[in-house]
Symmetry: C2
Subunit: 357 residues, 2 copies
């Protein structure tokens, strides 16, 4: 096929990373596996500069969104909805038969720290769910500022969906006071989907121990204990995907996490400047533009499926707007192993197709 | 490494199957994916000769064991414990904060239909959990006979863990009245782990619609609806593992499911005859010996880790006994793409190492 995926996930996976999946199977009980898995956990801690517990779940991030609710919410959760994925996370609270309320802002707006402060003041909530980078709107929520507010509420679990942000946007887990943060690997990790990297603070671990009905597959306590006992996972993991993440973590360490984040900034600058110069305009509120997913207005109502058909021939693919933004925006995921050079190439191709030069 | 995995999962995966994972990523929203996924579902239905709903979850079977409880159990579940995995399935009922009771037999014994009849007569249960092939003891439970009993209880959901049985042992889903049956793919499907094939009857689907707190990641209703609407999955699936199962289903259809089941019978016969001839003896109750996993007594107390070290050099690996059977049994998983010829080779190697010829 030979096209570059500028989808906001699944993103482009380099051939050498795909090939890293191909190794003979090993038992997930025993020395060989333990060495592999411990290596992955330790490298992830280095990449994320964290001392918290790290678990790799075999699931999409949706599973860990649910797991976070099942492990952390005792009485009542506070959701924060600013787009499709944050809305869905809150919806999961009810689907898990738990109670909650939600702060909602217009799609394209960011969640502000003072909104959260006002709600938490009531003392009704034991867990707050915040989406770092809302993939449907291209908004990067102000997690460091929200983290400042959270310092006033030491009993509340601060859970962050960093699906399309981790290893693409800055993330200071302990400094920002984040208790649970996770990302599926088909975004900025640039891997095939199927795993979710999850970082759990001691506080969240202690909370989970007190919550009933956590189940098993996403039980934080069981995973942390099993790792401490034997460097294994309670359930059988996706071994070939672990081979790939092991390989990719080495590549990320080699690139340097600071460089990787800077590269995402550069790619987003290219996208933003293009959107402004060509008078499309960016969809999200100013000051909150994502470094990993640019959601660009589509004021002239171009057909994105038609664009994709023509991009295909030039070796690229992008995404239409999400949900209710389907026709009025389009989305460029500039993530993972994609480069500023490739991003420039994409926009040159779009210019040519739309005759914008 | 070049050794054949006779573990009772993960089993040996052929190199061409491993390589099928390596294809460029595609979006899980769109035509390309829909064609892939629909093909997999349709081929699975052909392989299993079923018209029920088929869902491929990105998870180990443990996730679907939990999902079955969350989707099906309304008031009270009946578990059936005859080894480690069936015990754990029942334990999950409590971990999901649901109620249940359990029929327990000695490890090595089978669950008999009359035991179930006696419990179900009380009318207390809405779901029954039965393990077809108990991987820890090598017992194949009499699912067809249990299915006969279940006909008397049309309101009870009949859920079957077929993890180490599906496409290795006979399985007549509709004829035996099974409502939920699942298997992870690293057993008789001979694939890398990370997916669980799940077959759900209309009755189980209707039941799920009435159960609260199903969550999302294993919500049968959401998966079935999404498939009917768009041939997609609600959460991002492990695309590279789907490439592999698509490839492997073609291989299985090509082999013929009857031939594949016959091959498993032949491999188990080789194992059983060896165990008897060499005066080790089979661990499970007579009449219930598994066609996929032979659990063999170890009366002379041979060290299985030592055996494995020597087998390694000859290109094989087997497993020690499970849990409390660790030292008194050993386990040969003769599953998936392994052949009778390779099974003979394994026993010749064991004979040589232990000087049994």
């Amino acid at each position: 096929m030979g096209r570059l995926l500028f989808n906001p996930g699944p993103t482009e996976v380099r051939e050498e990373v795909l090939k890293a999946q191909v190794k003979p199977m090993i038992s997930h009980r025993g020395k060989e596996f333990q060495t592999l898995y411990e290596g992955i956990i330790e490298k992830t801690k280095r990449v994320l500069n964290t001392k918290n517990h790290v678990v790799i779940f075999t699931s999409s991030a949706t599973g860990v969104m649910e797991g976070t609710i099942r492990n952390c919410v005792k009485e009542r959760a506070l959701g924060t909805a600013c787009g499709s994925f944050s809305e869905r996370w809150f919806k999961l609270v009810g689907e898990c038969d738990k109670e909650g309320d939600v702060i909602s802002v217009e799609w394209g707006q960011a969640i502000k720290p003072e909104m959260i402060d006002e709600k938490l003041k009531t003392g009704k909530y034991d867990t707050i769910l915040v989406t770092y980078n809302e993939t449907s709107t291209g908004v990067l929520n102000p997690i460091p500022e929200i983290g400042e507010v959270m310092k006033k509420y030491p009993d509340v679990i601060f859970a962050v969906d960093a699906v399309s942000a981790m290893v693409g946007a800055p993330l200071k887990i302990e400094e920002w006071g984040i208790d649970v943060v996770f990302a599926s690997v088909q975004k900025c990790f640039a891997l095939p989907p199927g795993l979710t990297v999850t970082v759990i603070s001691e506080k969240a671990y202690e909370r989970a121990k007190t919550v009933k009905g956590r189940g098993h597959y996403f039980d934080f306590v069981a995973y942390i204990k099993k790792y401490e006992e034997s460097k294994e996972t309670p359930a059988t993991p996706a071994v070939s995907l672990l081979y790939a993440i092991d390989f990719q973590l080495d590549r990320i360490l080699n690139e340097g996490i600071e460089n990787r984040i800077k590269k995402h900034q550069e790619m987003s600058k290219i996208s933003q400047e293009w959107a402004i110069k060509r008078e499309f305009g960016m969809f999200p509120e100013k000051g909150y533009w994502s470094p990993t997913v640019s959601v660009i207005n589509n004021p002239k109502g171009y057909s994105i499926p038609d664009l994709n058909k023509q991009l295909e021939a030039k070796g690229y693919r992008i995404a239409n707007g999400y949900g209710k933004l389907k026709d009025i925006t389009f989305r460029i995921g500039h993530m993972g192993d994609l480069t500023p050079q490739e991003t420039k190439g994409l926009f040159e191709a779009i210019d040519e197709i739309w005759g914008l030069k």
